[in-house]
């Protein structure tokens, strides 16, 4: 069981490094075990260095950079042990246009194998989807779903 954890950790770590650099268009990301003497107890530390920036405390990252790092982590775990589907609620909210482009590019790559359900307000994200459902409250307080036509470019 300890071996399983270490094996999983190493794969997830390498996924994370690759995803970080794909999502940020460069830079270095890494996961580390704190207090490696007691592997079964040690927490996990995140090292994140966006392209061109020096390695600093992950706290100093901007709102958008923290979101991208967190997305890289979740997708890294997900790649290791894919769940049948993945549901994301407004994870793209703090991202700027170029980060969103790389994010949805990554989703499209993974979408050939995994189903994604993504809730969003962002037009670029909507354009990357295969189908769109619009939720409205025509009658106040009562939700209704309409299928929205997606004109693919």
């Amino acid at each position: 069981s300890k071996e399983r954890f270490i094996k999983a950790f190493e794969i997830i770590n390498s996924n994370f490094t690759k995803l970080f650099s794909d999502l940020f268009g460069g830079g270095t990301g890494e996961l580390r075990l704190i207090e490696t003497d007691e592997i079964l107890e040690s927490g996990i530390e995140i090292i994140a260095q966006p392209p061109g920036k020096r390695l600093q405390n992950v706290l100093l990252l901007s709102g958008g950079e923290k979101a991208m790092t967190a997305i890289a982590l979740m997708l890294a775990i997900f790649e290791f042990q894919p769940s049948p589907f993945c549901i994301l609620d407004e994870v793209d909210a703090p991202l700027d246009d170029s980060n969103i482009s790389r994010f949805i590019e990554k989703l499209r790559q993974m979408a050939s194998e995994i189903q994604f359900l993504i809730i969003t307000h962002n037009k670029k994200t909507m354009e990357a989807a295969d189908r769109l459902y619009g939720v409205t409250m025509q009658e106040k307080g009562v939700s209704k779903i309409v299928s929205v036509d997606l004109k693919r470019i």
Binding site: L59, P94, Q115, T136
Partner: protein, 200 residues
């Protein structure tokens, strides 16, 4: 398991019967603030067996039943049905998980249960490849709950067991709720470990 179809009635703002059909690839849900998008998200979590009302933005589970508006009376029950397509992987994974938990049980209790005595249950479910599994969860105003698996009554536990270790169970890495992304980096290192342990 692949998502096929979701039916929501009486859950939060979905007073009327609503259906969403999923397919391969990326499905996007859009709409103005407060129209019900995150409620769809929570309907899926609830159908998968979520018992923590706080994670459904509620003080108590009854809050998830449609409470009525000026022009629409409250609902007496909330019902969500999730239709999933089982894929080849799921079945062998299920059996593998099963054998593992039996092994753990034997190690812990020094017992000698064999899979043979448990298998009939799964065979009752008759989940074979390419078949649809339907999960239904109901909650009545009285507080009573009902759970159905392929139309037959079952326990909440049976539904939860179906998804343990998949990232859709108690520790979720495949489901990211609104606002959670902002918290991941400020979480304790041990909490991150829990996510990895779940996947391992």
């Amino acid at each position: 398991f692949k998502l096929q179809r979701l039916e929501i009635t009486g859950f939060k703002s979905f007073a009327n019967h609503t259906e969403i059909i999923f397919d391969d690839g990326i499905t996007a849900i859009v709409g103005p603030n407060g129209c019900g998008k995150s409620n769809i998200f929570e309907a899926i979590c609830w159908a998968l067996g979520e018992q923590r009302a706080k994670l459904l933005r509620s003080n108590e589970m009854q809050d998830i039943i449609f409470q009525g508006t000026n022009s629409h009376p409250p609902a007496s029950m909330a019902e969500v049905t999730l239709h999933l397509l089982s894929t080849k992987n799921d079945i062998s994974e299920e059996i593998e998980k099963f054998d593992e938990s039996i092994q753990k049980l034997n190690e812990r209790n020094d017992s000698n249960i064999e899979r043979k005595s448990w298998k009939p249950y799964f065979q009752n479910l008759q989940i074979s490849e390419g078949e649809t599994v339907s999960i239904t969860r109901r909650l009545f105003r009285s507080g009573e709950s009902e759970y159905l698996l392929n139309g037959k009554p079952c326990r909440l536990r049976d539904i939860q067991d179906l998804f343990s270790g998949t990232g859709l169970g108690n520790v979720r890495y495949a489901i990211i709720e609104q606002g959670y992304i902002g918290q991941i980096l400020s979480a304790k290192p041990s909490e991150r470990r829990a996510l990895i342990e779940e996947a391992a």
